[in-house]
Amino acid sequence: MTAAGTTITLRGRGLVGGVTEGEALVTRDSISGWGGIEPTGGRIIESRHELAGQSFRDRVLVFPAAKGSSGWSGMFHMSRLAGSAPKAMIFNYMNTKIALGVVVTRVPAVTDLDQDPLDVIETGDWVRVDADNGLVVVTRGGAVVTRTGGQS
């Protein structure tokens, strides 16, 4: 555990470009799109999911993989149109659901990081995602240092 305010930089592959920052929402459970999220509020609804009931709206969603129904992209596409998409997506495992999902959600997305983001990032950390350069900068314990703008 590192002290609050410390920053850690992860390097990986940017998938959908753009730069953003926000509060992390981290889960070790894979995420279902269709039947796993409710797109209007951006909430996770899968019964046995560790984030059940929580919303990813405007947060940097950090998760291992996309799973379940082929409606994954359709649901995240809908969350974008409803204004409830996550601010950015960071994940480990590539498949067609997540690939198409990040394309149609149109938010910065990064994968193939040089350290496991699930080990490094905790819910509540402040995360800057620079998908143009494949960079993720994590500030422990929230936005004490870097919260100087750009997150609007």
């Binding site: 379940g68 409606g71 394309v103």
Partner: protein, 425 residues
């Protein structure tokens, strides 16, 4: 990604804006995947039937605008030409016969009906089922396809040897317009070998057993390619339909092998090819019981308001099994029994008298949709029961109800008595 000349011309608009938008989407998607190229496909299953919600989000700008946004991820409305590839509509939001039972308004009905006829005019076959492989779209071994619907993908990859990834609405629609899909994942032979060995130490007989095994395997291997060893009885379409649907719900299984049964592996050795198992799992009595308990974890109340059969869509054999259980009896007045099947099979069920037997018992034979996709239940429903691990995985989450999972017989009995009395045997 490397593009051929015809793909470049499509991208540059030679075949119109819609094909260009479709190619643009396939390129963006293929690059995220890390695909080196696209592959030709003439077998695409997608989902392009829309209702009032999508129309409203597009500001009622008309069906081309809705297709552009939701099917092609093109915020600019483009004029949609007829589909280039053979294209099939999967399960949709509405039963055209029983839409009032679904609680749909006339306005919603008209919007969905208009969307269906728009799809038909563009050359999309209105099969309206999650099981295209039981009503005429049966790909052959090695055929490159672009299918949505995780339960159908895992079936045609594994049982038939077709080659498809789980596509989404936008990639499938782009494939319909271009006849192309990224050459990635399960399109490549080297990705189709086994990753996990599952030693099945417990007899797997009926479709309940297969659903339990599938749900367990999916949870364990997630995105892996499980190889089942120790299956003593040859399964059938219904059992494998339940198995794959369950494995694609608790996890993301898109391909599996049952050596001696599924088409790409005569032996465990052949199933793994050059790979070695990452892990060996043992499915025994304990795993079976724990899986059963997980599937029943949302239910406490034994008064059953709805029994749902037909996820994935029921075969004629399943419809006949239900008929045998209800013939001459009545569904309990406080309960309902709904059976879901493809439109084409309902037609045969009418011809065979099965539909009449169900009607006489107070049950309903529905087609084209299901409660999870269409998001509908009988008014006041608190507790459902189903013989589908997939449906009991999704429906309680989507519709905020309790869900029991059991055998087809237990489910139908609970509709007749109004009470759940299932147990693991």
């Amino acid at each position: 990604m490397r593009l051929t000349d015809d793909e470049r011309r499509m991208r540059d608009g030679e075949q119109g804006e819609a094909v260009a938008a479709a190619m643009d989407l396939l390129i963006r998607y293929g690059e995220v995947l890390g695909a080196e190229r696209l592959v030709d496909t003439d077998n695409v299953c997608g989902a392009n039937i829309f209702g009032p919600r999508q129309m409203q989000l597009c500001g009622h700008a008309g069906p081309d605008a809705v297709f552009s946004e939701f099917s092609l991820d093109s915020p600019e409305p483009v004029e949609i030409p007829p589909m280039r590839a053979q294209s099939y509509q999967l399960i949709g939001p509405m039963d055209t016969q029983h839409w009032q039972v679904q609680g749909l308004s006339q306005e919603a009905h008209d919007a969905i009906e208009e969307s269906e006829s728009y799809s038909a005019r563009h050359g999309i076959h209105l099969m309206n089922t999650c099981t295209p492989y039981q009503v005429g779209n049966v790909p052959v071994k090695g055929e490159h396809c672009a299918w949505m619907e995780s339960s159908a993908v895992v079936y045609v990859n594994s049982v038939l040897g077709a080659r498809t990834n789980v596509e989404g609405r936008e990639s499938a629609a782009a494939a319909m317009l271009t006849g192309k899909i990224p050459y990635w994942g399960y399109h490549l032979a080297e990705n189709r070998f086994g990753s996990h060995l599952v030693e099945v130490a417990e007899p797997v007989r009926d479709s309940l057993d297969w659903g339990l095994l599938g749900y367990y395997v999916g949870e364990q291997v997630q995105e892996g390619v499980p190889v089942l060893d120790g299956i003593a009885e040859v399964p059938n379409l219904v059992k494998l339909k339940h198995f794959g649907a369950a494995a694609a719900s608790s996890g993301g299984v898109e391909m599996y092998h049952i050596p001696g049964t599924t088409v790409e592996a005569r032996s465990v050795e052949e199933a793994f090819g050059p790979r070695r198992p990452l892990q060996t799992l043992r499915y025994g009595e304990r795993e079976r019981r724990l899986t059963y308990e997980q599937l029943n974890s949302t239910a406490q109340d034994t008064d059953v308001d709805l029994v749902m059969i037909g996820c994935p869509h029921a075969t004629l054999s399943q419809i006949r099994d239900v008929c045998r259980l209800v013939e001459g009896r009545k569904v309990h007045p406080d309960s309902a029994l709904w059976v879901f099947t493809p439109r084409a099979i309902r037609q045969v069920a009418e011809q065979n008298g099965y539909a009449r037997i169900l009607r006489d018992a107070g049950a309903l034979l529905m087609s084209d949709t299901c409660p999870a996709i269409g998001q509908f239940l009988p008014k006041g429903t608190r507790v459902i029961a189903t013989d589908s691990a997939k449906q009991v995985h999704y429906l309680p989450a989507i519709m905020k109800v309790q869900g029991w999972f059991g055998s087809t017989e237990e489910c139908v009995q609970s509709a007749l008595t109004g009470r759940w009395q299932g147990e693991l045997r």
